[in-house]
């Protein structure tokens, strides 16, 4: 287990403009689910995941968002 990421910033907004956690996840997942899920839905799911994970450590956020979004998008396909 490697937890060496900076702590979350208390009071940070749930979705920052240009939030790298959202942008990175959207970029990867849009490509991965191309043709199966509409890009707009990918963006919405990722943003929802980012909001639901608010309060988690910032450094861990990209991984947490992407993993959770993958589970939720998987449900849409099924």
């Amino acid at each position: 287990m490697t937890l060496a990421v900076p702590p979350s910033t208390p009071g940070s907004p749930s979705e920052l403009p240009g939030d790298p956690a959202v942008e990175q996840a959207v970029d990867r997942l849009r490509g991965e689910y191309a043709g199966r899920i509409r890009p707009q839905l990918v963006v919405r799911v990722v943003r929802d995941c980012r909001r639901d994970l608010g309060g988690s450590p910032v450094g861990a956020m990209p991984e947490l968002v992407e993993r959770l979004a993958r589970v939720r998008l998987g449900r849409h396909i099924a």
Partner: protein
């Protein structure tokens, strides 16, 4: 800053014996208190009570400032505990709990990668952050670099069993001294540390502003670091408010005072008993004396109910009688001696009555040199011989006698060995009594404590009639009182003494020193030399 307050603590052993009773002391903010006492007196038990591992039968412990505990076993961990686990275990409870929650969430995620498991993992990470976990990891990195010379990420999964005892101790001490806990309980922190390591520990304990309560048998460490000494003896504890330098005098004075108070109580008791007897006789003949007799009976009953003051603690019964005997003037001669692969050839000459300390780097061949002189099979070149009437007696480190493990002290004494005639049970028991080993007479050797095994080995030297004592770290497991008894016995010994030691206090009692250097050079020194580095070997 923090403190520990121990109040009226009582602890009873499983066999019903009261080990500690009415223990009261306070270790105030920033104090460096040493906890001393003979082997088995209850020091570690008391530390475990303060740490919360044991619940006292009576009394209470109050403390503030967060408690960091280094247990005695650190230094001898041989299981698969990792560096990471040790560092977690030494962390404050909130960090430990957060870490365990993250681990549990990770395991759950490996089993089922669904949304609840992911949310639980994210929650555990958030709690880890809230508990200061990320800052703690930065500290752990500093700790591993300081103790092991490698970053945390490169050694966190390393098993402690791959580290030396000294490295394990150093790692734990760095973690506790740099950690947030303001009160540290250290059970023999100097064990397994070489002399430079002990000096490092002394400096760190002197500069820390934390409150420290530590157990140690190292008199040099006690003298340099402790600003008060708490002694566990006679089933209770008392505090000497000064350092170790004035401790012996304070202890003697206390014992004399206790003996005097007890003597006065006994005298007063005898006087009252006699008075009651006299008045009883008089009351038979004179009704007027009956009321006096009754009053005196009441007074005696009250006096006895209040009980006597505690008697002075029984002194540890260690009376070592290393006699020795006259030998040739030259006791040991070595010419161009080299223990194969360990050192450069060297000459040495020891004279009858010499007290020579053997010092130097770990792995430089000091113990092998002693074993060679003891007549053991050690590969070497060059020549050596013992002088006329020189009979070597060898004290090995306590783990060096696998053949004794299942045998009892009485059995070992009864059978004897070449050069040491066997003795009957009566004589064996008398000898064991002088070494404070009566209760262990019929126990297998392996069940004896390190200190008891060491004392038994010294007894064998006494019975063997040695005139040249070859001692390999004899004070390593001895409590302070036993170490002093050994020093007294060596002072009275008529013969030659050669001792390997890392005990700086003990080393000061020697006349000169043979130093085994890390570069393979063996040289003589009039002063003790403790700076030789460890011998580098390919691993």
């Amino acid at each position: 800053m923090g403190y520990v307050d121990v109040s009226a603590v009582r602890h009873t052993l499983s066999d019903g014996r009261v080990l500690l009773d009415d223990v009261n002391f306070r270790v105030g903010e920033g104090a460096r208190a040493a906890l001393v006492g003979e082997n088995g007196a209850g020091k570690t038990t008391l530390l475990r009570i303060i740490a919360g591992d044991l619940v006292p039968e009576a009394g209470s412990i109050a403390r503030t400032g967060g408690l960091g505990v280094m247990r005695q076993f650190i230094g001898s961990v041989r299981d698969d505990t990792t560096v990471q686990r040790l560092l977690v275990d030494l962390s404050p409870p909130a960090v430990r709990a957060a870490w365990d929650a993250v681990e549990a969430a990770e395991l759950a995620l490996m089993e089922t990668d669904d949304e609840p498991a992911q949310m639980a993992y994210a929650d555990a990470l958030a709690q880890w952050g809230d508990a200061g976990g990320y800052d703690v990891e930065v500290t752990w990195d500093t700790v591993t670099v300081a103790a092991l010379g490698v970053p945390y990420d490169r050694c966190k999964y390393r098993s402690l069993s791959t580290l030396s005892g000294g490295e394990q101790k150093r790692l734990a001490l760095e973690a506790l001294l740099r950690g947030p806990d303001q009160v540290l309980l250290l059970d023999e922190p100097d064990n397994y540390l070489d002399v430079p390591g002990k000096r490092w520990l002394e400096e760190r304990l002197l500069e820390t502003r934390k409150t420290v309560l530590f157990i140690s048998h190292d008199r040099e460490l006690l003298a340099r670091v402790a600003d008060r000494v708490i002694t566990v003896e006679g089933g209770t504890a008392w505090v000497h408010g000064g350092g170790f330098a004035s401790y012996h005098e304070a202890r003697s004075s206390r014992h004399e005072r206790m003996a005097e108070l007890r003597r006065r109580w006994d005298e007063e008791h005898d006087r009252l008993v006699e008075l009651v007897r006299t008045l009883q006789q008089q009351a038979k003949n004179s009704p007027a004396m009956a009321s006096k007799y009754s009053a005196m009976q009441t007074r005696l009953a009250k006096f006895e109910a209040a009980g006597p003051p505690p008697d002075r603690p029984e002194e540890q019964k260690v009376a070592m009688r290393l006699r020795g005997g006259r030998t040739g003037v030259r006791a040991v001669m070595a010419e161009q001696l080299e223990l194969t692969g360990l050192m450069q050839p060297f000459d040495a000459e020891l004279w009858f009555g010499d007290r020579v300390g053997v010092l130097g780097a770990n792995g430089a061949g000091k113990s092998h040199f002693l074993r060679l002189l003891a007549g053991r099979d050690v590969a070497h070149t060059g020549s050596w011989r013992l002088g006329a009437r020189v009979v070597p007696g060898f004290f090995a480190q306590t783990h060096a006698h696998p053949e004794w493990q299942e045998r009892t002290p009485v059995d070992l004494l009864w059978h004897g060995e070449p050069g040491r005639p066997g003795v009957d049970r009566g004589r064996a028991m008398a000898a064991l009594r002088r070494y404070g080993l009566t209760d262990q007479a019929d126990q297998p050797f392996r069940t004896l404590s390190g200190g008891q095994q060491a004392r038994f080995q010294i007894l064998l030297l006494e019975l063997g009639g040695a005139t040249l004592l070859l001692l390999d770290e004899p004070t390593d497991n001895l409590d302070v009182l036993s170490a002093e008894a050994l020093e007294e016995a060596l002072a009275a010994f008529e013969g030659t003494v050669l001792a390997v030691t890392h005990d700086r206090w003990f080393a000061r009692s020697f006349d000169r020193f043979l130093v085994f250097g890390a570069d393979g050079r063996v040289y003589e020194s009039a002063e003790p030399v403790f700076d030789e580095a460890r011998v580098a070997r390919a691993r």
